[in-house]
Structure formats: structure tokens, C-alpha cells
Symmetry: none
Subunit: 195 residues, 4 copies
């Protein structure tokens, strides 16, 4: 009998190696061999488990989004007010797990790939829409008719801060990013709420 149950182990190793390799090099131009080597196996085996490079990429993207989704869900579970729900999303977006340069870089690359790949785009939209919907819902309860504008503004600011990280320029700690967002939240809600 061969070693049993290697499949989940191998798949997982490949997914992580894919993210690391893409993140480190800062591009989707990585070869299957590079990824396989980093995951400690031959390129043939990588194909055995994933069928194609494209499917490996898809699995890696799904993994990143799943992690993010879990982080958001976890944070939302503890929020007790609309305001706390918004803050939960902000904090989840900049949690240590998400804000690692390598992770951010891989994310950005998949983000760009979504322009070209229908699959990637669909996947991305599902998560974006979910977060956006949460934000909008919360804002509607506390910001009235300005909800849409605030949702758009906050979401854009999150993306902007997040993505800038990938450039490794203007380096900001997660905390600093959260501060910027909180400041936006404070001032915009202060105006909405009559003094």
C-alpha cells in the first residue's frame, strides 16, 4: 500500500507554495516547477493533483479569499452595533494574517488577473459583494442617505491602503492603516449624526 491520504497534504502545500512564490516574486509569471520545488515535489506531481497551472492558481486565490472571508465572519460575529460591524470589517482586512506582504502581493496579482480571467473575476466579485453588502447595510442604519457614498468611500480606502502595501513603498503598519480608516469613519459619521 502506498502512503495514504497524501492528496490533501500535497494540495495544501502547493496552494501555500503558489501564494508564497507569487507573493515573493510579485508576479503571476511563476512556473509550475518553481512552485512544485518550493512545495517539495516534482512538477509532475503538481499536475497530478491539480490538473493544470490554472487550477492551481484558482485554488490559491480561493484560499486567500476563504481566509479573508473567515476573518471577516469571525470579526462580525462579535460586533454588537452597526458601527462595530464596520470596524470589524476594517480590522479583519488588516489583521496580521491578511497584511503580510507576501499575501498582499499575491492578492494584488489575482486582483489584476480578474481583468482577464472570467473565473477569477467571478470569485473576486462574490467576496467583494459580500463585504460591500455588509458595509452598506451597516451604514444605512447610522448614516441614512449618505450610506452609499460612505460605503464606496470606505471600501475604496480599504482597497487603496491594502494595495499600496504590495508596492512596498510608503510602508505603513496595519495599525496606521486602521487609524486612517477610523479617522474617516469618525469624521464622516460625526457629520451625519447631529451634534
Amino acid at each position: 500500500m502506498p502512503k495514504l491520504g497524501m492528496e490533501p497534504i500535497r494540495r495544501s502545500a502547493l496552494v501555500e507554495a503558489t501564494i508564497s512564490e507569487i507573493g515573493e516574486r510579485g508576479t503571476l509569471d511563476v512556473t509550475v516547477s518553481q512552485i512544485a520545488k518550493r512545495a517539495g515535489m516534482s512538477s509532475g506531481l503538481a499536475h497530478h493533483y491539480f490538473g493544470s497551472k490554472e487550477q492551481m492558481f484558482a485554488a490559491a486565490m480561493r484560499h486567500i479569499l476563504t481566509l479573508y472571508g473567515a476573518e471577516v465572519r469571525g470579526a462580525l460575529a462579535m460586533a454588537k452595533s452597526p458601527r462595530e460591524r464596520i470596524e470589524a470589517i476594517i480590522r479583519a482586512s488588516f489583521g496580521v494574517a491578511q497584511f503580510r506582504p507576501e499575501m498582499v502581493s499575491a492578492w494584488l496579482n489575482f486582483y489584476v488577473q480578474a481583468q482577464k480571467s472570467e473565473d477569477a473575476r467571478r470569485l473576486l466579485h462574490i467576496y467583494q459583494r459580500r463585504v460591500r453588502s455588509n458595509l452598506h447595510h451597516a451604514f444605512r442604519q447610522i448614516a441614512g442617505e449618505e450610506a452609499l457614498t460612505l460605503t464606496r468611500g470606505l471600501a475604496a480606502m480599504i482597497d487603496g491602503l491594502y494595495i499600496r502595501q504590495a508596492l512596498r513603498a510608503d510602508l505603513m503598519s496595519p495599525g496606521a492603516a486602521v487609524d486612517v480608516l477610523m479617522h474617516y469613519l469618525d469624521t464622516s459619521l460625526a457629520k451625519s449624526t447631529p451634534r
Copy 2:
């Protein structure tokens, strides 16, 4: 008989073809032949003028940044107050020339490439720093110690709104994007500097 002055014409045609091709396909994975064909010449000639694909990309990126820089400079020239200077930058960022999907898409792709290419990164930073510095300077005059936070927030929001355009999702007109930014500006300055 050599046609005199062909060089600038050819180079310009190639730069524009590069941007169009990348923008249309949504990826840097375009071939020199595709670009050359779109520019109405052979791939050999493209190499003759640019030496390498990488240099063609660099020229295209420089072109985009130059256009943007000119737009910003033009807008700044007419601004008469710090607040107007900030608004000028916002409007320049979402002027029709910059906000064309094809342009945005090409920009995003170069943005990502900056992670990998030292040259691209340097180029990008020069322009980013210039704009950032303008913003910061203006905010310092009207927002005091919150200037840094506001600069970061506004810059991030610009990037976020801009880049989202590339995904062709959550489509927003330039006007809507400017509205979101203006709203941010209003609320955050209202708090700092009661009118």
C-alpha cells in the same frame, strides 16, 4: 531613401499600441508581435526602435505617468487655495483622459509590475511622491496635525476608486468617484476647520 523623422512617429505609435493592447487584454501578457501589428509595423522594427520588450513597456508606463503629471500640473496651476489644490488633484485623477477603461487597465498592470521591476517601481514612486507631497502640503495648511492622516486617506481612496475601475465591476462614472472624494474632503475638513 530613409524617410526622415520616422523615429518619433514610430516610437509614439508603438507606445500607444502598447497601452491599448495591454489595456484591452487586461494583462501584460501581450506579445511584441501583437503590439507591432497594432502599430502597423513588423515586430523586428519594434525591436529596432526600443531594443527590447521591457523598454517598450517602460516607455509606455512613462507615457501614462507623463500624461497624468501634465493633467495634475495643469489643474494645480489654476488653484488658488490649499483646498482648491486638493480638489485639482482629485479632478485631474478622474479627468476623462485618465479614466478611460483601457488606460486604467494599463495603469493597473504597470502598477503591479512595479513589484517586480525596479525601474517601474522607481518611476511610479517619483510620481506618487510628487502628488503625495502636493496633497500633504495643502492639508498641512488647512488640517493641522491631521494632515498626514488625511493625505494617506485621500490618496488611498483615489487609488481604490481608480483601480476598481479596472475590474469593470461596480462601475462608477468619474463624476461619482469625484463625489465620493469630495464628500470625504468635506466631512474631514469640516471637523478640523469649522466653517
Copy 3:
């Protein structure tokens, strides 16, 4: 505990799966895995029993030829005259067992492989020579000096009718093929030996 006597069962299953797979796909471009799967086992086991793909093919070819040889031998055993011996070979060649599309297709593929593989060629020749010799012997008794020509003609016609079956074009029933051959036999012998 090892099941005793599995070897012949496994080998036989693989040989039949090889023929079916090749016959169905119409090409020798089948993988060991496909064959093993059809035979209900892993590819590793197929190698365990045959050592290599080539040897599996050889066994399959040998199997086809053995079946054909048995069919011919059985038919010859009942023949009582030269003419009947020739007819026996004709009928054996187009017996239901031999004329199945799948079988014909596999045969044709091995036929072609004989150009490349010394082993396959040798195997094929042994059987061809045997049949040819039987035909020639019979013809010599009833067609005199035209025996060689008739042998060649009849053998070629058998091959031609047989092989055309593989193309699944100009479909002819076994009976129709036999009719054509019998007609040839009738006319050519009528001339040689007026009844």
C-alpha cells in the same frame, strides 16, 4: 494472504482490455492507465505483470493471432479437398469472432506497428506465412502454375477486405466479404479447371 492463481486472471484481463482499448480508440496511443483501469486494476499492477507497455502490446497481439490461428486450424480440420481448405481459410478470416470492428481495428494497429517493431513483425510473419503456405499448397493442387498468382491475389483480397473494415467506411457484412472472395475463387478456378 496472496490469492493463488491471480496471475493468469490478471494477465488475461489486461490483454483483453488492451485490445478493447486500442480497438475502441482506433490507435495505439492508449496509456497504461487507461488499459489498467478498464481491466479493473492499477497501472502499477499492470507493470508488475507485464514489465512494460511494449510487452503488454506484444501479448495482446499474440492473443489476436492465436485466436485467428485457432479459428483457421479448426476450419481446416474439417476440410476434405483443396478447394474446401481454401474456403475454410476464407471463412475463418471472416468468422464473427474475427470480424468485430474492435478486433479488426486492434489488428490493423498491430499490423502497422509491425513496421516499427521487430518483435511484432516476426510474430505477424509467422502467422501470415502459415496461412499463405496453406493457401499455396491447396492452390497448387487445383490451379497448377497459376497457384502463386492466385495465392497472392486471394491473400491480398482477404487483407484488403479485412482492413477496410477498420475504417468503418463502405461497411460490409462478413457474409458480403465472403461472397466477394468466393466469386473470385469461382471465376479464377473455373478458368483453370473447367468443371
Copy 4:
């Protein structure tokens, strides 16, 4: 300016190299590199001109069939009676150009490929039907109701003699093959024509 008009030269060289390579090795398992090398160029160039291996094979097959078709047409043009038309087809099939071992072997391999490839099958059928129809037409004029049987028999015999050549066994000169066929023609028509 580059060397002009290389395309037809290169394509032709590749088609001939394809036939030679397949014919010599006796199998379609030849690599593009082998073919390109034999044709005196790089594999990249072969792809440049044909796009894919499959299309190279198709061109080679078409070439063989075109040559054969031309040979048949030429021979038919000079025939003055039904009998002569039949003989023309026989002679064309075994003309020196067609009967070269290498040519025969390549033909056989394409013949087999027609089982798998729809394109190859279609191509082959077009030529087969044309020849078959010529034969049938001629036989109807001189053999009455036995025309179909004779057409089938003769066509099968041609195929059988031709294909056997590929095995390089039972080697027969073109002349000998023609003799066998002529003998069939003589005897079968002698019977049809009342003595």
C-alpha cells in the same frame, strides 16, 4: 528585406520531410523536431509555417493523396474503353512514385490514423470514393450485375497488395502486383463475357 518567398519552399520541404520521416520510421510517432531537422530547419520554424503538428500531418496526407489523384487522373485520360479505365487505375496505383516503400508506409500510417481523426477520414474517403466510383462505372459497362462484387474485389485486392508492401515482407515488385490484379481482371471478365 528578408529572403522573400520562402514559405512555399519551406512548406514543401516540411511536407516531404514529414512523409520521409514517417515512412522511414514506420510510425506517426515522430517529433516535430525530427521532421524539422530533416527539412533543415528549426522546430520553431515548422510551427511558424504550419501552426501545429497536426496540420503538418494533414498537409502531408493531402500531398500523398494529391499525387495519387493526379496519377490516376493522368492514366484515365488516356484510357479508351471501360477495361482500359480499370487498367489505368491499377497501373496508377502501382506507379513507381506511389510504390516507394517510404510512401507506402506513410500512406498506411495515415490510413490507420483515419480511424481516429475525423479530418483524416474525410480526406481519405474523398479519394477512395472517387476511385471506387470510377471502377464501379467501368465494371457496370462490361460486367453487368456482377459490377459491385468485382469493384469490391478489385479495390480490396489493390489495397491488400499495396498495404502489404509496408510490412516489407513478401516483397513484390510493382510489376508482380499488377500481374496479380490483371489476372483477376482477366478471369473474372472472361466469365462474365459469354464464351
